[in-house]
Amino acid sequence: MTASVAVFPRSRSRPQDRAGVPTYVVLGLVAVAFVAPFYYMLVAASRPMAEMNTFPPPLLPGPDLWKNVATAVRSQNIGLALGNSLVVSGIITISTALFCTLAGYAFAKMRFRGRDTLFAITLGTMMIPPSLSVVPLYTIMADLGLAGSLSSVVLPSLVAAFGVFFMRQYLSQSLPDELLEAARMDGATSLRTFWSVVLPIARPGMAVLGMLTFMTAWNDFFWPVITLNSTNPTVQVALNNLGSGYVPDTAVIMAGTLVGTLPVLVVFVLLGRQIVGGIIAGAVKG
């Protein structure tokens, strides 16, 4: 007993019992249900529409993928949309990671008047769905001359309450007070401390936050659909136009969907482990 505790000091969760066969079967089926639509997307994107109109549907991808992708790209500016989404999501990601780390550091490690109130307000703002503000946002952006521009999508998302919360959790766990104390003894200014002590330690957390932010920004739908038009779309706006077309060629729609989803999926398959870890880490103290 004692030996096993010593060998596995980190075994914190109970059902330590190994999973039985039924558990694997259930989880396997769920995993298939979660992943199957992606495969269906690929199959439907690579065959003529008529072939998908049979049951059972074909199980393997067909030969038309490039043709359908080309049609989709031509009909909805998807090349431009991919570029736009990359720019928008990239800027939002960098700025969110930086500003949220600054604020998260202040909330985690600095003492100042009103800190707890300000942090409570920050958490409270998470309860406000951004889509409720679209009417005035639309007016404001028009007044600023930014209607239909990428800036109108970027500006409201430059920093996020979730990120502040996330970085505060991360830094209060991984940034030792002694290090900050040492920096202060050396006479480092606050900004200097942030730059050479806090940032290096915050980097892994910022990376996870960055991935989550990128995904969210890439997939953002409501506000971009309202503010952008089809001549200068992001991917989601282009997909919306594709799906709202009057001639619904499902193969072309699926090809466009595939192209628009692929970048995020690639990121996700490569870094899924870290993203999963980040979500779990962000949730523990939530």
């Binding site: 979660f34 100042f112 309860m127 500006l155 709202s244």
Partner: protein
Amino acid sequence: MTLQLDRPVPGERTPPGAGPTIRLSWRSRLHRFEGRSAPYVYVAPFFLVFAAFGLFPLLYTAYISLHRYKLGSSMTWIGLDNYTWLFTNDAFYNALWKTVTIGVLSTVPQLLIALGLAHLLNYRLRGRTFLRVAMLMPYATSVAAATLVFALIFGRDAGIVNGLLGLVGVDPVDWRNGDWTAQIAISVIVIWRWTGYNALIYLAGMQSISSDLYEAAALDGANRWQQFRHVTLPGLRPTILFTIVVSTIGASQLFGEPLLFGGGQANGGPVGQYQTLGLFMYQQGWQFGQLGRAATVAWVTFLLIIGLVLLNTRLSKMRKS
């Protein structure tokens, strides 16, 4: 050499005595000021962005809701007319009701399945990482992509769902044009996208429950189900409350799913059978050009959300005491 270097440069010469100390104290004061103002500077970007693009628009929404405001023209004060219009409008009550039913249809199964999945994922598993990543793949998909795929899967003539139902002798269902069927299909999209995410949140909560509690329960002779009921569920309470609040807010905001499920139409089906509040607002504002009315819908939705969240926390506090 050394002498030359040591010689002070004439312009920089400071008077003996007072000079260095004043400079030092001035510097240290600056230093202290920098240290004291720094935290406010660091949190400022968040609050500035929130004030400009969160708080101000929210309040401005209330102001706009008191005006007739057509797309492309200026505002005219009309008092509470928009609210009278809204509360006597059948389409609003329809949208409110559909938001509630789709919300229940999507949230309840989603959280229950997520709880079960988290329980299973908490066993010692081979291929743990793979399973977790698979659970989260739908979360990485956009609303638009997910809805377009599921619109095909729920197709009337050739959709897989109808094909599978046909195997067990059920006639093809016209998912999109039915009332409950369309709501179910939309709920399935929401469930597909969010269940894995919530399962991971629950899993995180489960892993932070101390194993001593389970051991104590086991010593008292509790079986697995009893352990789940009396240790896991109470331990997860705050997490469950959190997911309920988040999912409720999410459900009140459903927009992309019903929009694209209907092929980009804002009416939510021929008889509005899946028109949510978000879609209703979009229709008023950007199809009919009635921004004032759209703002009214948004503001009322906001008040409803606040009411729901307060009710939620109140209920959970009551149950606790």
